[in-house]
Symmetry: C2
Subunit: 331 residues, 2 copies
Amino acid sequence: MTETLPLNDLIALVRPQLDRLNRELVLDLAPQQRDLLPLVEHVGGYRGKQLRPMMVFLSAMAAQGSSHSGSLNDDVVQVAKVVELLHTATLVHDDVLDGAGMRRRIATVNQMHGVEIAVLLGDYIYAKAFHMAVQLPDPACARWLAETVRVICQGEITQVLHRFDVAWREDQYFKVIAEKTASLYAAGCRLGGHYVGATEARLRALEEFGLELGIAFQIVDDCLDLEGDERVVGKSLGTDLTKGKITLPMLYLLRRDATSAERLAGLLGLPEQEALRRLRAEFPLEHAIAYAMDEAKRRVAKAQASLSALPSGNARSALSQIAGYVLSRRL
Amino acid sequence: MTETLPLNDLIALVRPQLDRLNRELVLDLAPQQRDLLPLVEHVGGYRGKQLRPMMVFLSAMAAQGSSHSGSLNDDVVQVAKVVELLHTATLVHDDVLDGAGMRRRIATVNQMHGVEIAVLLGDYIYAKAFHMAVQLPDPACARWLAETVRVICQGEITQVLHRFDVAWREDQYFKVIAEKTASLYAAGCRLGGHYVGATEARLRALEEFGLELGIAFQIVDDCLDLEGDERVVGKSLGTDLTKGKITLPMLYLLRRDATSAERLAGLLGLPEQEALRRLRAEFPLEHAIAYAMDEAKRRVAKAQASLSALPSGNARSALSQIAGYVLSRRL
């Protein structure tokens, strides 16, 4: 598990399944209603690295101790599709909540078609995803993912209710990011294993792997929002400050001393560019980022350690490297 | 089927099941997260006549030819709860789309807690409803209702895309209201019958009953938005004009003559009170309403006729009377 491969080499392990997923998702979403086609095609443009479906495939392979994705059954592909659609639905609604105008270098649905369409399209994709989940004869996917979406929303609501709350604590932050982000990774990894009949011990290991990786992923995301380059990241940045979302690097700065806390509180709610410029000029942002990234590294190490419950092989090694990749990502 | 009972007497037929549903829904939705409790309690205040769960119960009874709700199994209660939750989720998101401030005489979620919370709370309730649907051993409820929510969203999206479209046709209007409103009535009635093991012929009759009743319901709703009294109806009115939603009474006025069409187009987008005042003063609104209500009456007659496929009895008679009630409702 020590050698590192570029992400593209990891993707190659499950390339046929990813290609099949992307080919089928267009047809699955394509509505009879011609009016909706441009909307469905628009969100198709959001396609990113597709870490979540990749992890469903690799988890299924790792649980089997298999190195060949050819052994994956149709149910695993269906699970990966549902996970990717649920993720897409949350992105569409997240952009409404954040008032974000750009996602993966293209205009968001709310920017291009208005908030109403974005709310409804998110609902549409959720419903389609649930409908696909309940097509599986084994109800585990539908049950686990319906509960996961409830938990995601619970985390997001808690976050909104505590915006501008400078008394927000780290344990609250970690609970919220576990709910709103990591729960879907955890569910995807677990369900990948479930649909190849893995033991409960392996399912728990996969779930923990997804959870810790997901937490690390969100911490890195929160760092990028403060120190990333919009042209590289490809989405609106600085929105956390403007929206008053208190993330881990901010918690570090808030806890430094009373003056620092008060000055940072003064930046919350300002327009993105001004808030970012002043944060970078007036605060030791690099220390805050280093503090948060240390936590992300610990989470990645924990995720990687949980993989020891699985048989060694290409797939397990790929999962471990994806966890490492999360730390280095710049988009 | 000719005698008419007040709605309260019809409700009495399924009172124990409705009471159970309302008692259990609070517990079902109550989150572990204390932050969310006030939100869940808030939407509890939206509780209306609960026509949809009532119709699930009565459909199950009618399909069995039973007059006693005591014979209903737990699965039917679960279906009714899921239908009521899905309806609640659509209300929460509808109020976001309409920018509505009042619903059943209380502030809407978006008015009280902002658009972000309203979007997320709707998602939360959808997810909870799907999770409850997939608890049922027979997957019919989860499958049918996931597809129904997709259809509801499809109808709503089509409506938004055709706002201010004065070339909008009646057939498009009927398709949209069948999708966005009537599909959930149709699904509820069908599933009520399904979970007591009714024959396909009876399920189709129940589905058609729900569909036609739902179409009539929406036509009446669209009439109330133009001619209702806000103090009686208990929600914001005139929003269709302001939002440019072309409803059946408006289609009547648009088709009268070119001058009338042009003048009506000029009212679309104006603030509610001004648009309503001018519509009532400058157009033969009573003719437009009469035209739309004639259509609603035909739909109700069709709904009632479809009940002939079911055994006669209290429950069938109650369904028929609910269809008649839809025409007379003022809130």
